[in-house]
């Protein structure tokens, strides 16, 4: 290897090493996580959002969307002992309470086998079905309801 070439290669390696040694925050300053703060920092205040009072069922935006919860759920107990959601939405209860009955898709085990009652893997309703607050969208967007549902 010629001397000037070797020097050039060495300089390049040194430059790379210097870049790696610098704190990454210098280059990543502009990027901000949705959480808004460092993992070890205290949780940001949720921002006084109010749950929206009871309303009629909310239309879906796409066909696979888990239906949204159109009522308040404050203080609802979902524990090992009792599932408040199922107290109204179960097939044995929905007629009396006037609630929407649980979808038939919830009566399957993980292998797709049919069950005669709701699968325990569907126990935590609010992992998919969420209540609504008066919070505004975090970023502007042009999301449109799926064509078949407009």
């Amino acid at each position: 290897m010629k001397k000037p070439t070797r020097k050039l290669v060495l300089a390049f390696v040194a430059a790379l090493g210097l870049a790696a040694a610098l704190p990454p925050s210098a280059s990543a300053q502009a990027v901000k996580s949705i959480r808004g703060s460092d993992v070890s920092a205290p949780e940001a205040a949720p921002g006084g959002f109010k749950p929206i009072p009871d309303q009629a069922p909310i239309q879906r935006d796409y066909v696979q969307q888990p239906p949204l919860i159109p009522h308040k759920v404050e203080g609802y107990e979902v524990t090992k002992n009792f599932n408040k959601c199922m107290d109204c939405h179960a097939w044995s209860r929905y007629k009396e309470t006037g609630a929407t009955k649980v979808s038939l898709t919830h009566f399957k085990d993980r292998d797709g086998g049919e069950l005669s009652n709701v699968s325990p893997r569907r126990y935590f309703c609010m992992q998919c079905h969420v209540p609504q607050t008066d919070a505004k969208p975090l970023v502007g967007n042009q999301f449109q309801r799926a064509e078949g549902l407009r």
Partner: protein, 207 residues
């Protein structure tokens, strides 16, 4: 003639009016003291002086609307669990002597023991409230003054049909201030628990 042959009235007359006055005053002091002692056992502070209550039911209750809410109106333990009327109150207080026995024997002195007994204890209280037409609820929530127009869509409809069918508060409002015992719900394998007939009793007019 000996004193034994005197009637009671003659004896009292003999003792004089001052004795009657003293007896009367003693009666007031005794009755006042009795009521004061009774009221001392009718305060939340007294209830949670037992760790059975403080560690289990009181902790759960602190997360509910009857403990903390936007206007700060509170219901304390005796507001729901001790009748306000004198005779039912006395009956409940005498029954509560069994709870002293439970305390001494340590029937529910750990959270595990309490959880195991919860299904029995909860049903005792539901039975009591159903028997007196949820009187302790109605001391504050009088349905004759419900304004359905400001109630939510669901409560509006359920209250009107439920009350028309002769149902009482506790028929639906179970586990509002404490966590529920295991309830038999048709999810996965059968785990036992409170049966649907107890959890949602049929309204009297539908039977």
């Amino acid at each position: 003639m000996s004193d034994n042959n005197k009637t009671l009235m003659q004896k009292i007359r003999g003792a004089g009016w001052s004795a009657i006055a003293i007896l009367f005053a003693a009666g007031i002091v005794f009755w006042g003291g009795f009521n004061w002692a009774l009221e001392m056992t009718n305060r939340e502070k007294f209830c949670i002086s037992c760790h059975e209550m403080e560690e289990n039911v009181f902790k759960e209750y602190r997360n509910t609307i009857h403990y903390q809410n936007r206007t700060g109106v509170r219901a304390t333990c005796p507001d729901c669990h001790v009748p306000k009327e004198w005779v039912p109150k006395m009956i409940r207080k005498i029954q509560a002597s069994k709870e002293v026995y439970g305390k001494v024997m340590g029937t529910i002195n750990t959270p595990e023991k309490f959880q195991a007994e919860r299904i029995r204890l909860a049903q005792n209280e539901w039975r009591r409230m159903k028997a007196n037409n949820s009187q302790e609820c109605r001391n504050c929530h009088n349905y004759e003054y419900f304004d359905y127009s400001v109630q939510g869509r669901r409560s509006n409809q359920m209250h009107q049909t439920g009350l028309a069918a002769g149902q009482t508060c506790i028929d639906c409002h179970k586990g509002i201030a404490h966590q529920l015992p295991p309830i038999a719900q048709d999810i996965g394998a059968d785990h036992g628990g409170v049966v649907p007939e107890v959890m949602h009793p049929q309204p009297p007019k539908a039977q």
